[in-house]
Amino acid sequence: MTSSKQALAHSASSADAAPGEQPGAAGRAHGRGTPPEPGPGSWRSKLYRWDMKASPYAFISPFFIVFGAFSLVPLLYTAWYSLHNVQLSDLDGQSWAGLKNYENLLSSDFFWNSLWVTFTIGVISTVPQLLMAIGLAHLLNYKLRGSVVWRVVMLTPYATSVAAATLVFVLLYSWDGGMINWMLGFVGIDPVNWTESDWGSKFAVSTIVIWRWTGYNALIYLAAMQAIPADLYESAAIDGANRWQQFLHVTIPQLRPTILFTVVVSTIGATQLFGEPLLFGGVSGSKGGSGHQFQTLGLYMYDQGWIIGNLGKASAIAWSMFLILLIVAAVNLLISRRLRKSQ
């Protein structure tokens, strides 16, 4: 908050200086409060009015141009390509395929497998991550020594790239000589084959996601917690609620919109999961392991499009992902409506 106050002071002083710098500025001749127009029809006032009308659109246009050119138009083209036979090896030789790509998908075991993998990894990475983040935020919300240091440390994994983080976890999870199996040995657990086993590999990929994003989500929750009015806690305390009850009956309900927000964002992230499983698989990365056990939808699309070279099918996968996201968003909306009604 102090920074915004500084900004205020700063902008105030520079704004005062601004009109003075204008040679023969209209402001000096007319004084504040008088419109600058010498006459209603002069080109100066026309220019002024045109500026007032056009500049907002000019200011927002870069975003819409970039979004339009590099997201919206491609999105439609992806739909177009998904109805065509487009091969990476023969980009000019495109031919109409109708719904063949989609039929291929629906009859492909690998597609359903990747859907299942995306769903399971999404759940086992998102749920613990958000639960831990709430707990962590609750702890960070206490008066702490070196509170900034704690927050920065919790956020360091966020600064680590998917590639770097995954390469480290590959080594930590390696079958022999790996840190994790070695430590499991101490508590008497047999080594797990983290890259080949079905659930082991899914769990391993999830931990990379959890490691990178828990601190980030904790900060989002912390920000929301700090905005909860203190008197809510006071009245709860006067009613005899202990700390745990306060957390349950004051903090959590107040966080509801933020929780919903993080659930939506994490769900979108989980649907698009790509880098972690790709690198976790090493040489067989785009297949999601030898048995496709961690081939997410994102990986399946990359594999079909750029390894196998069927860009038409990859487009169909991309559109299926979009439809799934829309369904998830709709379900989310329904749930949040329900929650609001029951409140």
């Binding site: 907002p56 702490l144 480290v168 979009f322």
Partner: protein, 300 residues
């Protein structure tokens, strides 16, 4: 999206009395942390930092040593040799330069365009502004995967495969950036200032330069840091758009990881090098980045 209402913690009415509040269990909002809190936080901090520290340890050993049990828990003497090998094998020199160019361009453009658009949405009145703002926020729902195939085909058509502008162009400005700047400027920029400048006959560009940019500076810095982190770490599009001859750092790391005869200590050295620039930035600006995420969170 879901906008959390920001209510200032202090309310106008006077609390009963300090002593009264303290008497009631847990009344004050900012409770002091007990030892259990510190223990749990320390554990979390260790889990957060350990993989990074261990990357450095592994990078300082030999491949043979990494395959043995127990894994090395302290530094060896092979660090510089591994760093050198990783640097050469993955072409990290080119990759670093490329990543700086890509992330730098994306950052400057995003901050500039987001501030302009954020200002327009926060303070200017124009037709359809609400609809356009909703549309902007809505675009965050569109996954990047949906654009990848046509973009790849077009860039190939233009002869831009494997060139850096291919990576830069689609991310010159983000919906998050626009929304972030809007939320900041709604509060930080008094409308009277703009009106006063208008009355003085200042053009919109002049207002942007002399009023908006100075007011937005703290948020621009934070957005710049967040954008740089994002652009440096971006993976999906660069790996499709670029090949091994002209990689970003992440693409180069991927090539290290998918080698058929992987030398793990060299891979760790590469991972260390690829992360180092951001870790240094994090040490210097960690506080601002944390503040920025929290700020974006409250209002977003």
């Amino acid at each position: 999206m879901t906008a959390t209402q920001l209510t200032p913690p202090q309310t106008g009415k006077k609390p009963p009395s300090r002593r009264e509040r303290k008497r009631v269990m847990g009344a004050g909002k900012q409770l002091h942390a007990g030892p259990v809190t510190y223990v749990v936080l320390t554990l979390f901090a260790l889990v957060s930092l350990a993989p990074l520290v261990w990357t450095a340890i592994a990078a300082s050993r030999t491949n043979a040593r990494l395959a043995q049990t127990p894994p090395p828990l302290w530094f060896g003497g092979n660090l510089f040799k591994n760093l050198e090998t990783a640097w050469e094998e993955a072409g990290l020199g080119t990759a670093m330069v490329n990543s700086v160019i890509v992330a730098g361009t994306i950052t400057v453009a995003t901050v500039l365009f987001s501030t302009l658009a954020g200002f327009a949405f926060a303070k200017l009145r124009f037709k359809f502004s609400n609809v356009l703002l909703l549309l902007t926020i809505g675009t965050m729902m569109v996954p990047p995967q949906l654009a990848v195939v046509p973009l790849y085909l077009w860039m190939a058509d233009l002869g831009w495969s494997n060139q850096l502008q291919t990576v830069v162009l689609p991310t010159l400005v983000t919906a998050f950036g626009v929304f972030f700047m809007r939320q900041y400027l709604v509060q930080a920029l008094p409308t009277e200032l703009i009106e006063a400048a208008r009355v003085d006959g200042a053009s919109s560009l002049r207002i942007v330069w002399h009023v908006v940019f100075p007011a937005a500076r703290p948020a621009m810095a934070v957005l710049g840091l967040l954008t740089f982190v994002f652009a440096w770490n971006d993976f999906l599009w660069p790996i499709i758009a670029l090949n091994q001859e002209n990689p970003t750092v992440q693409v180069a790391l991927n090539s290290l990881g998918t080698g058929y005869v992987p030398d793990q200590s060299v891979i760790m050295a590469g991972a260390l090098l690829g992360t180092l620039p951001l870790l240094i930035a994090f040490l210097l600006f960690g506080k601002q980045i944390v503040g920025g995420i929290m700020q974006g969170a409250i209002k977003g």
